[in-house]
């Protein structure tokens, strides 16, 4: 008896466990049946915007879209090499028949990044301003970053069904932590002497935030945005499982049918997008902080 207790972990009976799980699932299902439509309605504007953006990219003439992309890349990075590299990457993507999927991916990444910035920066500011907010948010962020994404896909799908919005939510949940964390960090790292000077000149909290803390935290925030974009890209395959169009879907198809070449092409397209996003956002981040490291004249 004694030995049995030590080798077998004393667990709840199968009956009880089933009861707990079933109870949990039933009540959540009831909740989603009751409120699912309302919650979905909340996201309608985002959905419209996403669909509009995707259609815009897909239906406009490809040379025009390509020129716009290259212009953004050039003005973001101010580097000819990055621009030319991107041109070739996009041309190859198009030639290998992935233009349309790539446009879908770009549109969802774009919208997810905007959403993450829109939500993440205010949350990060809140965390930096209040110790209590930081104590509450940190464990939530830990869960968001470490919980396997499939696990939170389940309730999202139960609630909102399959489609763009649940995919978008899954991507945002996964990708938003870095921007929140780095906004918080960036603001907390602002030199306390500079803040004291602001206090001494009678700055109010809003003036301190917008004139000192956010501008000085900007490079760190930009590192967060860069991370967020990278993580959003990493999620496109998983998001495709719940119906998000884009480069993830062919990859998924390739996995289930063992099409190696198809998986590789689309995978490389995702890599190309990642590199372009990364280079552009990094050199933009460097540029906005040039005045700090800039050599003495």
């Amino acid at each position: 008896m004694e030995k049995l207790f030590l080798t077998e972990f004393p667990e709840l009976s199968r009956e009880t466990l089933r009861f707990i799980k079933k109870g949990f699932d039933t009540s959540y299902r009831a909740f989603s049946r009751e409120y699912g439509d309302n919650i979905e309605a909340v996201f309608d504007p985002v959905l419209y915007f996403l669909v509009w953006f995707e259609k815009l990219l897909q239906n406009s003439p490809w040379p025009l879209v390509l020129i716009c992309f290259l212009a953004i890349i050039y003005f973001g990075s101010r580097k000819i090499s990055v621009t030319i590299g991107s041109l070739f990457a996009f041309l190859l993507i198009g030639i290998f028949g992935m233009w349309e999927d790539t446009m879908s991916t770009v549109s969802i990444i774009g919208v997810c990044t905007l959403l993450s910035i829109g939500i993440g920066i205010p949350v990060g500011v809140m965390m930096a301003k209040s110790e209590r907010a930081q104590r509450i948010c940190t464990p939530i962020l830990d869960v968001m970053q470490t919980m396997p994404s499939f696990v939170y896909l389940i309730p999202v799908v139960m609630l909102l069904g399959i489609g763009k919005i649940p995919g978008l939510l899954a991507v945002v949940i996964y990708a938003i932590p870095p921007i929140i964390r780095l906004t918080n960090l960036g603001i907390r790292e602002v030199d306390s002497e500079v803040l004291e000077a602001a206090d001494a000149f009678g700055a109010n909290p809003r003036q301190k935030l917008f004139q000192i803390q956010l501008p000085l935290a900007l490079p760190t925030i930009f590192a967060g945005i860069n991370q967020t974009i990278m993580m959003a890209l990493a999620m496109v395959v998983i998001a495709s499982m719940i119906g998000v169009k884009g480069l993830g879907q062919p990859v998924l198809k390739a996995i289930t049918n063992q099409y190696f070449a198809m998986g590789l092409f689309n995978g490389l397209a995702i890599v190309a997008l990642a590199i372009i996003f990364d280079r552009v956002s990094q050199s933009f981040g460097h540029r906005i902080q040039q005045h700090r490291s800039g050599a003495r004249e």
Binding site: A198, F201, G202, R292, G294, E297
Partner: protein, 340 residues
């Protein structure tokens, strides 16, 4: 004569978890070391009383840890005291609400910091305009006022540079211009020149004195350097371990130090460069004026000592600006002062 601008009364500051209870201990006579050891609280300031006169430069001097930076931060309430009051122009700074305090800081005071505390993402011009932007003063006026002060501290041509591109001395000029542009009556300078190398420091001291001749601000100047204190201070307060050892005009502190600490401090000072004739003269009452030499009351000893040695007068007669005789100084007294 001149009005009291800032009045600091019975000011206590104790750092720690429960300063109020520690305050009782301090008032009962527990000293700094004991307070730290037994009650785990740090005594920042103890019973500070200081009246700062309008349009004068009040120096607060002490070594690091003496509480001088803590004291200056009480004047614009960057630090909350544990007990006591700070009254500026009749208003108790410690009773102001947030809004009033901000207004007080915006319009009455301006501060210059030891490590400049400039905004690295703004240009010299924008840094100088910072105080005015905070007050929402319109851009054109802010620009004109800022440029005037940038010019005044000798930084014309650097308006569009970033602070990182400037040397330490130039950065502190920006700090000074920023404070002056704010046009408050009170200028708080927290070891403003301590981070600069000696030659630049001397330059900055001269700039400050020159500006003060013209602007007549009430300046509170913190330093750990006695020479600097003696050079620019109208009055000097000496802090040690949060307690004010002595307060007075430079000559008094040199000639009659009250505590051993102050005595040690002033021992090596070249008195001839600090003491003026008026500080050591005695009253005129019919002393023998044979072979007398005339000196101005505001002349430092080193201005006339060479002449005393070469001319060998019997005594010195001190004159004021209107050329009236106002005091008498024997050569014996003079040599005593210099010998000590």
């Amino acid at each position: 004569m001149s009005e009291i601008k800032i009045q600091i009364k019975n000011l206590y500051k104790i750092f720690g978890k429960n300063p109020k209870s520690a305050l009782e201990q301090v008032k009962d006579g527990v000293n700094k070391d004991e307070l730290l050891e037994k009650h785990n609280h740090v005594l920042g300031l103890k019973d500070i009383n200081l009246d700062i006169k309008e349009k004068s430069i009040q120096v607060v001097m002490g070594l690091s840890g003496s509480g001088k930076s803590t004291l200056i931060r009480h004047i614009n309430r960057l630090i909350e005291p544990t007990d006591g009051s700070v009254v500026v122009d009749g208003d108790d700074v410690l009773k102001m609400n947030d809004e009033n305090l901000r207004n007080f800081r915006r319009t009455k005071t301006a501060m210059v910091f030891q490590r400049f505390a400039l905004l690295p993402h703004k240009t010299v011009l924008e840094n100088t305009m910072f105080g005015l932007h905070i007050q929402n003063i319109d851009e054109k006026e802010a620009n004109t006022r800022a440029r005037r002060w940038i010019d005044r501290v000798g930084l014309s041509g650097y308006e569009e540079k970033y602070p990182q591109h400037l040397s330490g001395g130039m950065q502190q000029r920006v700090g000074l211009a920023r404070a002056l542009t704010n046009d408050g009556e009170i200028l708080l300078m927290d070891e403003a020149f301590s981070a600069l190398d000696p030659l630049i420091r001397k330059d900055m001291q001269d700039i400050l004195l020159e500006l003060q001749d013209e602007l007549h601000k009430t300046v509170v100047f913190i330093t750990h350097d006695l020479d600097e204190a003696l050079k620019i201070g109208d009055r000097i307060a000496i802090l040690k371990d949060g307690i004010m050892d002595q307060e007075g005009i430079p000559a008094d502190i040199l000639l009659s130090p009250k505590t051993q600490y102050v005595k040690d401090f002033v021992e090596d000072v070249n008195r001839a460069r600090v003491i003026k004739a008026k500080h050591i003269m005695s009253e005129l009452n019919g002393q023998d004026r044979d072979n007398a030499m005339f000196v101005d009351q505001d002349d430092f000893i080193d201005r006339f000592i060479d002449k005393v040695i070469s001319d060998k007068p019997n005594c010195l007669i001190v004159k004021n600006k209107n050329n009236d005789d106002i005091g008498y100084l024997s050569t014996k007294r003079l040599s005593e002062i210099l010998k000590r």
